[in-house]
């Protein structure tokens, strides 16, 4: 196996890591950079638990190789709260009890963050559609959708 030397930006910090050709970004985040907030659900792009942002777009980190990440900017759940203050999405997930076991939550928060960047005032249908690539086996989704709608409202209010 060849070793690749990769430098990238993770949560705003420059990082460097070595990885094998077959190692995914998910493997790298969890086992090389010790950012275990990103979860491994299926490893095949079906569940969304591993969702992070890459150059601003939501991706499944299990479907990207570490070696593909040269010079990419990655945002994970560890970078979501800034200076100890929770992101409005995180706060609203707590307020609405939108998580139970929490395994899907980092991925859903990242996906929701990307959605709200594209559309600051989504309808409920748009939120449900946008989160269709994120599976949750606990909550039944309703509370998640409500939390995202509420966070969107708060983020709009903050901006005005």
């Amino acid at each position: 196996m060849s070793k690749h030397f990769v430098s990238a930006i993770v949560n705003g910090d420059e990082v460097e890591f070595r990885c094998d050709s077959g190692e995914t970004l998910l493997d790298v985040l969890r086992t090389k950079l010790y950012l275990t907030g990103t979860k491994n659900g299926c490893g095949t792009g079906d569940c969304g638990a591993c969702t992070v942002l890459m150059n601003g777009r939501a991706i499944n980190s299990c479907l990207v190789l570490g070696a593909e990440c040269s010079d990419m900017s990655i945002e994970t759940i560890e970078g979501m709260a800034v200076g100890g203050e929770l992101h409005p999405l995180q706060q609203k997930f707590l307020d609405h009890a939108a998580l139970q076991c929490g395994v899907c939550t980092p991925g859903i928060l990242n996906m929701a963050k990307a959605l709200l960047k594209e559309n600051s005032n989504p309808s409920e249908t748009e939120v449900r559609f946008g989160l269709a690539g994120n599976l949750c086996r606990c909550t039944g989704y309703d509370k998640i959708v409500r939390a995202v709608m509420d966070a969107a409202a708060e983020m709009r209010a903050r901006r005005t």
Binding site: M1, S21, T24, T44, G45, L63, A132, G133
Partner: protein, 288 residues
């Protein structure tokens, strides 16, 4: 396995030609990485084509639109010009997977994966798309129908890879549409699908028609008789009935958990008519 990221077509070809053992081309990775993980493929070399400029561009000239093989679904969906020219193709690509998948998946990869149910393929065939292939003997361009040979099998020879897909600049008053049947509302694999492109004259009469169906045979199929049924006419119930029958007649589907032979054969006819109607209506609304 070794990962390579060549930066030119030439470098990619020489890697493909000189690779010892099996080499696989990687674009968005949404199929290839799954196949790797499930050990359906065990290549010695993985050749990432995303760093080659020609695979990353969308270019439009007087004759055609070229969509690089590594352009993602999200990027294609954000391109207003391609969407205006071939809305059906862009919609078909947009149906592939979740938001996360759209950020990575490519039309080129959807084609090369060669699934009988690939969403982009019937739309590409209807639009008369061509595959731009680079290889040791230079560039060649073949039709989508000729490119797809069997499930998982394409016409690519050793050392070749897909650089781009080319769509013609549509004639005046042309539009396309793609529809699929799935049992849920989103994020599913087509049980049956249909793509159509229609050109009308000033009186609203059809001058050119193409129709293709997916998931009803080992590869997506062009319904060749559609043109004879539709050209020179207006859209009426009689023609739609003929069209449904002609479509069902080209189907050779399989029975599986998604649908039976009888169901797929019938629904193909229904979807074909709906796709033609939608493309027709869009063509009528065109002012150019």
């Amino acid at each position: 396995m070794d990962y390579h990221a060549p930066e030119s077509i030439h470098a990619a070809i020489s890697l493909l030609v000189n690779a010892e053992g099996d080499a696989r081309v990687l674009a968005g990775g949404t199929d290839v990485l799954v196949q790797l993980r499930e050990e359906m493929i065990e290549p010695n070399h993985l050749i990432d084509i995303k760093n080659i400029a020609e695979t990353r561009n969308i270019s439009i000239c007087a004759k055609e639109v070229r969509v690089g093989a590594a352009v993602t679904g999200a990027e294609l969906g954000e391109h207003p010009k391609v969407k205006a020219l071939w809305p059906g193709v862009v919609e078909a690509v947009g149906l592939i997977g979740s938001h996360q998948i759209q950020s990575r998946a490519t039309m080129g990869g959807n084609l090369c994966n060669a699934s009988p149910a690939a969403d982009s393929v019937p739309a590409l065939i209807a639009a008369d798309g061509k595959v731009v292939i680079a290889g040791p003997n230079g560039e060649r361009k073949i039709s989508i129908e000729d490119f797809l040979i069997a499930p998982g099998k394409t016409a690519l020879a050793i050392g070749e890879f897909v650089v781009a897909l080319a769509l013609p600049i549509p004639p005046t008053r042309t539009a396309d549409a793609y529809l699929r049947f799935i049992p849920r509302t989103e994020m599913d694999i087509a049980v049956v699908s249909a793509g159509s492109a229609i050109t009308l004259d000033e009186d609203g009469k059809c001058t050119h028609a193409r129709l293709a169906v997916g998931a009803v045979a080992p590869t997506a199929r062009l319904v060749k008789s559609a043109s004879g049924i539709l050209v020179d006419g207006l859209l009426d119930d009689d023609r739609l009935e003929q069209l449904a029958q002609a479509t069902s007649a080209v189907c050779e589907p399989i029975d599986d958990k998604r649908g039976t032979v009888a169901f797929r054969t019938q629904v193909a006819g229904v979807l074909a008519c709906r796709a033609v109607k939608l493309a027709w209506q869009r063509a009528m609304e065109r002012d150019i």
